[in-house]
């Protein structure tokens, strides 16, 4: 129901409270928060810059969310993704799902972050002592997405 792409940080507790406020059909909430890791392989990063494709990003996230709602009985759903320059420890992304029972919320939450990583048009540029480098897509991310492909 809610997709946001923003430069500013977000408050996880406030987001969860707003997401579920007044909906007493909800019995469980699952969330995932991605943060900037200090190490890129064996190199230490000073910061990273997230670039995205304004317009397509929002559209891709909305499609991913709609797909999750088609597959699981969700009472509420949220995707917040940041862009711009972020430092180690900073929050990058938040995904939250709420449903009557825990299984739908937990599965849909895992699905959303896996799909987002291989479908939403974001790119990370890492800054290290040796210079800046675009992050390569990881095979493990495509493998994580493949497990959700319906037979």
């Amino acid at each position: 129901m809610t997709v946001r792409v923003q430069q500013d940080d977000f408050d996880v507790g406030a987001e969860l409270a707003a997401l579920t406020e007044g909906n007493h059909a909800i019995g469980g909430i699952a969330s995932f928060v991605g943060v900037v890791r200090e190490m890129a392989g064996d190199e230490k990063i000073g910061a990273m810059t997230l670039e995205h494709y304004p317009g397509m990003t929002e559209r891709a996230l909305a499609e991913i969310e709609a797909e999750a709602r088609r597959r699981w009985p969700l009472e509420a759903c949220l995707i917040v993704h940041r862009f711009g320059r972020l430092e180690p420890g900073d929050r990058i992304v938040m995904v939250a799902t709420a449903s009557a029972h825990r299984q739908a919320a937990l599965e849909a939450c895992a699905f959303l972050i896996d799909w987002l990583k291989t479908k939403a048009p974001f790119w990370k540029l890492e800054e290290t002592a040796g210079g800046s480098k675009w992050v390569d897509a990881r095979d493990t991310d495509s493998a994580a997405t493949k497990r959700w492909i319906e037979e």
């Binding site: 494709y53 397509m56 891709a60 990583k117 974001f122 540029l125 897509a137």
Partner: protein, 83 residues
Amino acid sequence: MKLLYFAWLRTKIGIGSEEIEPPEGVADVAGLLDWLKGRGDGYADALANLSLVRVAVNQEYVALDHPVAPGDEIALFPPVTGG
């Protein structure tokens, strides 16, 4: 048509977007990429390995045989790395 370049495609080509008018024979994405490669070293370098290039036409992922038309917004970018 409007072309958009992101991440290392943008840095290799040297610009983030441009308006172009490809010649009449360019009918699909593959033809467009072929034509773009001839526009300069930056383009040739960015498009040297098409297995690393993703294409969106009007903000939807497409394959190389997807048609292109005047007025389209066409984005070229590497595999995504968000999340």
